[in-house]
Symmetry: C2
Subunit: 332 residues, 2 copies
């Protein structure tokens, strides 16, 4: 900027006025400055500008999700991005992969960068390390998971009710032995779904065979292997509940491999792009990632606009989408 000022024969402040489109600069001077800036490849330094302007906004919010590449996380992030675009707020995105120390590290990093807000799909089980920021009024919105240890906005899905609906659907179709494949037990989302499963059994006054409940499944390949193991039991399940999208994918693959896709029922949690195109169509508990993301974005903007009302916890009800796989009766 100093060089531009020198080349244009004006003061620093005048260059500042020009790059900020402030009034009170004669057209001829403005032109001289712009030419000089162009010739010197000058770029305005937003960091210095933000620093000088004091507590002003940086125009960046952090978006920490489970996996930027997963369709659920990615779709949600996209919706958040769309909500922020009108204000030209950028998104600093990162994947946590359920690793809690990574969450801590990245959050600290983002806070040092003075992000204007945080969207968090946490990997940790408590987030009290954020309490200073909460006190300071930093906008934080939890996505897909509830905060623990601090009280801030959250937008989640009723996982318990969704899982319960899935199991009730299968029970209603006559199934009594249901293979239940679920994610890391440490993830609250996953824990809630297991609770929903137990609730459904309890409500139906039926016993849940714990040997059919397998936890800590992280990818489609493992899901296939686990499904295979259950199918090889002497008394195999007549139905599966896959508590996450990649798990459902693995189960479908194993059922197809064995040609059992029309004989073993299957309900997934979380929709997959082509779930309606497999045969039979995959019955799922759908959670609308776009709607969730929109709501997260909305909350964040409200907080950025100074809304300091009590934290709001929005819970969306997931919906059962009937497509065929979940309506197969035992012994077909």
């Amino acid at each position: 900027m100093r060089d531009v000022a020198a080349l244009a024969g004006v003061s620093l402040k005048t260059v500042s006025r020009v790059v900020n489109d402030e009034p009170g600069v004669s057209p001829s001077v403005r032109d001289r400055v712009l030419v000089a800036a162009g010739r010197l490849d000058y770029r305005h330094n937003l960091a210095a500008s933000n620093l000088r302007r004091g507590g002003a906004r940086t125009g960046v919010v952090g978006g920490l999700v489970q996996d930027v590449g997963n369709s659920f996380s990615a779709t949600m992030l996209r919706a958040v991005e769309d909500a922020l675009r009108p204000r030209s707020i950028l998104l600093l995105a990162a994947s946590l992969d359920e690793v809690d120390v990574r969450e801590r590290e990245i959050v600290e990093n983002l806070l040092s960068r003075r992000v204007d807000g945080l969207v968090l799909m946490p990997a940790s089980d408590r987030q009290d390390y954020l309490s200073a920021e909460v006190r300071a009024g930093l906008p934080i919105v939890f996505a897909d998971r509830r905060p623990a240890g601090i009280d801030v906005d959250s937008v989640t899905v009723d996982n318990r009710a969704g899982a319960r609906a899935a199991i009730e659907h299968l029970l209603a179709h006559g199934h009594r032995r249901i293979g239940i494949l679920t994610d890391l037990a440490s993830i609250p989302t996953s824990a809630r779904r297991v609770e929903g499963v137990r609730e459904a059994y309890a409500a139906a006054r039926l016993p849940l065979d714990d040997s059919l409940l397998v936890r800590d499944i992280r990818d489609a390949g493992t899901a296939s292997t686990v499904a295979a193991g259950l199918l090889d039991l002497d008394d195999p399940p007549t139905a599966f509940f896959a508590a996450r999208n990649v798990i459902a994918e693995g189960v479908v693959r194993e059922l197809m491999r064995r040609g059992l896709q029309r004989r073993i029922a299957h309900v997934g949690f979380d929709d997959l792009p082509m779930a309606d195109l497999v045969d039979p169509g995959l019955t799922v508990i759908r959670q609308d990632a776009t709607r969730l993301g929109e709501c997260v974005g909305e909350r964040l903007l409200a907080r950025l606009d100074g809304d300091d009302s009590a934290p709001r916890h929005t819970v969306f009800a997931p919906t059962l989408v009937v497509r065929g796989s979940g309506e197969i009766r035992p012994g077909t």
Copy 2:
């Protein structure tokens, strides 16, 4: 920081030494400073630090893709993120949606923020507005599309060869009327694929019926509609080539709706998560988004490490994945 210094009864510089883990601070003073910092909710300000340290790194790179929510873009970004994580470099992600002014705006914004590098899946047809940055040595890597107007690293797939392989595969199976559904003609990627189609026809000395070539298809719904229109012709196609993942999804859906999925052949470009699970399995030209992203990340790191060799253009060969839908013969 001033407050922390005052509370701890030390100078600014000493606090700076403590927060930066510099040597030469006695344990007792260090403790006093840390306690004071904790009590005052002090956070180190990275922007000010970077400013003072001069041209040092900001630890952020921009990642501009077509759509953060699309599986191809998202998977690629994820791979880039993984490559950058060991250096704790963060990714500022944004979707361009093929809107070229948005690309300009966001890139300018990122440059003002002094990002350390740029990953760009461009929406514009020329990027000469970046030439000053190229001259200045800013690491820029193009993903999935070649740069135009500037010369920087790029990592792409051979779209022409991929499309040609798809058409040759269908021609080899006896098809002569192939419905070709493709994305915006203005996207170079898309244009290359159409070139590949023409090449295949030319090599086989067969005429290409332009009425079967439909461009500017942006989503699965439109793809379904277009496929329906072609199927309703007096002389309908016996095969489809869907030149992008969402288009393939739409075509599959329409074929299934009409129960034609075993009678009309279909080859897609770009894999879909469950493409092997539909019946018949979807034959595709697969491009490995993860591998592409890894390569982009690698190039970026090399440039960040000072590699100033001539720009490298890595081209991956997409592979034909045979699953059934592409091997149906006409008149089955």
